[in-house]
């Protein structure tokens, strides 16, 4: 009769002294797992140029029409690149199809997951805001 009670108290005591599971969000933030699917972003090369060639396959494959307004242009060496590219995070369902469809590994779902905003416009990313800041990989399986 007393034994189960002690067992239960022991568990409680053990958790009293272990690291808490609850995170103090937003002061503390959780690190997502490596294969977490966050916001889509445009990948840049070491030299800071975008990898995207504006083939629009991500736009075609996107099931929720979150990617739109891709305007291609021709560079001085006949390369094709986008001058406009809109990722609408309010529509994105983070399925990762864009990443899968991209023939140039130029769009990638990063590890960001926060979407709460006062203004919806903030979540509609233009080409500058959709482009990652550093060419670093955010997850080990980046490519």
């Amino acid at each position: 009769m007393i034994l189960p009670l002690i067992k239960g108290l022991a568990t409680t005591l053990r958790y009293c002294f272990s690291k808490p599971i609850t995170l103090q969000y937003p002061e503390e933030k959780r690190t997502p797992y490596p294969r977490f699917r966050g916001h889509p972003e445009l990948v840049i090369n070491e030299d800071g140029s975008r990898r995207c060639v504006a083939c629009t396959l991500c736009m075609v494959v996107c099931p929720s029409n979150a990617i739109r307004g891709i305007v291609p242009a021709e560079g001085p060496h006949h390369e094709k690149y986008p001058v406009q590219f809109t990722i609408d995070l309010t529509r994105c369902i983070f399925c990762g199809f864009c990443q899968e469809a991209c023939p140039k590994a130029a769009i990638k779902l990063n590890n960001l997951y926060e979407l709460a905003q006062y203004d919806k416009e903030v979540l509609i990313l233009d080409i500058e805001r959709a482009t990652q800041k550093k060419p670093e990989m955010r997850a080990p399986d980046w490519l």
Partner: protein, 881 residues
Amino acid sequence: MINLTIDGRAIQAEPGKTILEVARENGIYIPFLCYHPALKPIGSCRICVVEVKPGPPRPLPACATYVAEGQEVVTTSERLTAIRQELMKLVLINHALECPICDKGGECELQDLTHALGVPEVDLTAIPATSPPDYESLLVERHTDRCVTCGRCVRLCRDHVGAMAINFMQRGYFTELGSGLLPLDCEFCGSCIDICPVGALINKQFKYRARAWEVTKTEMVCPFCGGGCSYELHLKDGEIMRVYNGETALLCGRGRFGWPVITSPERLRTPLVRVNGELQEATWEEALAAAAGGLKAVLEEAGPGALYGVGSPRATNEANYLFQKFFRAGLGTNNLDNPGRLHYVKALSALGQVFGWPEVKEADGPHPKPPAYTSPFSVKEETKGSGFTFVLGSLEELPRADAALILGADLTPELPPLGWGVNAARQKDDFQLVVANPRGTKFDRWATVSLRYKPGAERLVVAGLMKALLTAHPDLTPAIPAQGLDDLKESLKKFSLKEYASRAGVEAADLEAAAAILAKAQAPAILFGTELLNQDKGEMNALALADLFLLVGKPGTPGSALYPVAEKANTRGVCELGVLPDRLPGLLPLDSPAAPAFWGEHKPVQTPGPTLLEVLDKLEQDEADAPRALWLLGGDLLRWLPNRSRTEKLLSKVKFMVVQDAFLTDTAKLADVVLPVAIHAEQEGSFISSTGQLGVLKAALGTDGVLPDWQIICRLASALGVPLSYRTPAQIFAEFARQIPLFAGLAPRKVVGRTGIPAELKGTFVLFDLDISLPGRRPFTLIIGKVLQHSGSFTTHEPCGTLVVTPEAAVSLNPEDAAQLELKAGDKARVISSHGEVEAKVALDPLLPAGVAFLPEHFAQPAAQMLTLNSNLVRVSIQKA
């Protein structure tokens, strides 16, 4: 019919067809790469191999194997799949995998084939191809690393376009397509782009602007020349991306690359009204009120005869029909004409004299509620047609001609589809070509006989031909009942054959050889252009040719027909719809029993109105019945009428002038009210091409402030007390089609008079004069004509695509003449005639004979018509500027 089985399915097929054609007709899929329905099969890619029993043990190419009785064809088997996959691997071994940036991606036949054949991976390696892409060529970009060497472009360019600009270079594995390591120097028609199965040939206008699947497609008729080609207009977000023709791939440069002209900043977007001598922008209401007010004042002061109307060969049939309806049913006058008076109307008039004006009797109908742009009449057994419409040929049958005479036309610049038709005809072994032109043209190289006559000597050449014909075959009888042959023979006695030849500047033996070709031909076609119609005696030239056709032609035999060039998109339509002072819609005579239908409440007027040229004479002599007001439905009279300074003086005598045009032309600058019109795909409507085909324009673009012609006419006519009200152009078409039995059976892409109407033809030989003197003593004969990249003045506005090829007009001279004048290519020269002078850049053209110069008429500067008197031929002197 032949019975065979394909994959076990019993199929009946016409003899002479290939297995691939029969399979495609029956919806059986056989993959192919080098085959294209518009080209002769060569069986080089071998992707289309099928097993055929009875036959050799190896598979045969379906595209080059003809069907035979009792054949058993197997299109899919393990062996065939293995062969096809292996061949695909060899094609893909070196194919640049640039699909994400290749404009063909999404509509690429190689992509589709790779999917269809399930090629898993390419496990072969090879030396990579190294030749760099050609970014230098105008309008077309070439990527040899994407080429699959199917040879479609090479065959199309050689056999159908006739430019021979692309060919294979190198051999075997290293074969690539090229143009002698130089940028393309060709006709810039871009047909190779649409026939290329992959992205080896790319349209520079389309490059990187849209993906193939993003565009919405509208099929419509080309609004440039009178060729009547159909193409697809590809739009994205309401903007034109490109012009595409997947069916036959053939289009000319202005059709394919000319569309940017509709975005030109020179376009008029708001109406203009003359206030205190200056044209000022106004709203539509103000402008229409000003136009109506001005016209009303003139009509009230001097009666309905004081207004003269000029229809437009660029406006749709519907607009032109309403225009003549306003004059006939509204005002009760015949005071209207169209600019075709200077060329095409002369041909019609001559053909009318020789073969009679067209008439269709006993057509079945009108049926109620026909589909849009379809005639309510159909052809029944008793239906009978007569008149010249039935000797005018269609484009479809031109390749069936076994001999052709091209006279006075640089065919490809004047009407590219006729050029392709002749090229298709010459694929037959027994085809013989006679080319007669004062200038050398592209077709000379394929001509059996080439006649280089003196400018203006067309009638002597034709008379010489007839003389030679009748001498060699004295008992030659025309194929249809004809009168007046004896008179013609008598009139030809004026000169001997030698004299005809020497006066025309050709060899008598050549005339005899050409006559022999025409006499022997079972289906001779005669093609002639505006170059000879534009002369002051253009009608005589056309008469001579009509007589020649009556003599040697075999009307009723497919391919044997007359092909006069109607220059602009609707030059033929504007005439067929009765914008003529002496003909009603359907080319009916003014005294026709059907006439009252066109006159509304007015009594039919049976006296023809003055022609456009007579109006100018009336203005010059200040006659009492000279028009005081003009309504121009487009058409820059100053630029197209000969003797520009005279036209300018006479137009300024007109009290009030209303001009509808898309651009502020020199004529529009003289107007009191200018109303901007919708062009190209901004409006709906129909055109009748030079060869009689009905084409339909679709409104695919927004109008951005302008209005279609028909709406302007409705609003202006209503403001003038002639209520005209229609909802759609199709409704207007339905109205006039009910009154025109000649259009029986006509529908989009059908040809006027070629809808199965049995024709009863007869002809009369009409004598023509043989006087060819060209006044003046100046040393050069200047021919004013057309160049390939331009259609009227329409294509001379930036940013029209063809302007990169031909940006300006140059006076072409024979190099020896130029050397004598100490002129080099690019120098400025003064061209002086008795009527005026212009300054133009010099171009050297070895195809021009000595003493002949050529100046294109399209451009505002140099204004070619400053030099002319009453013809497109004029004697000039040329000096260094």
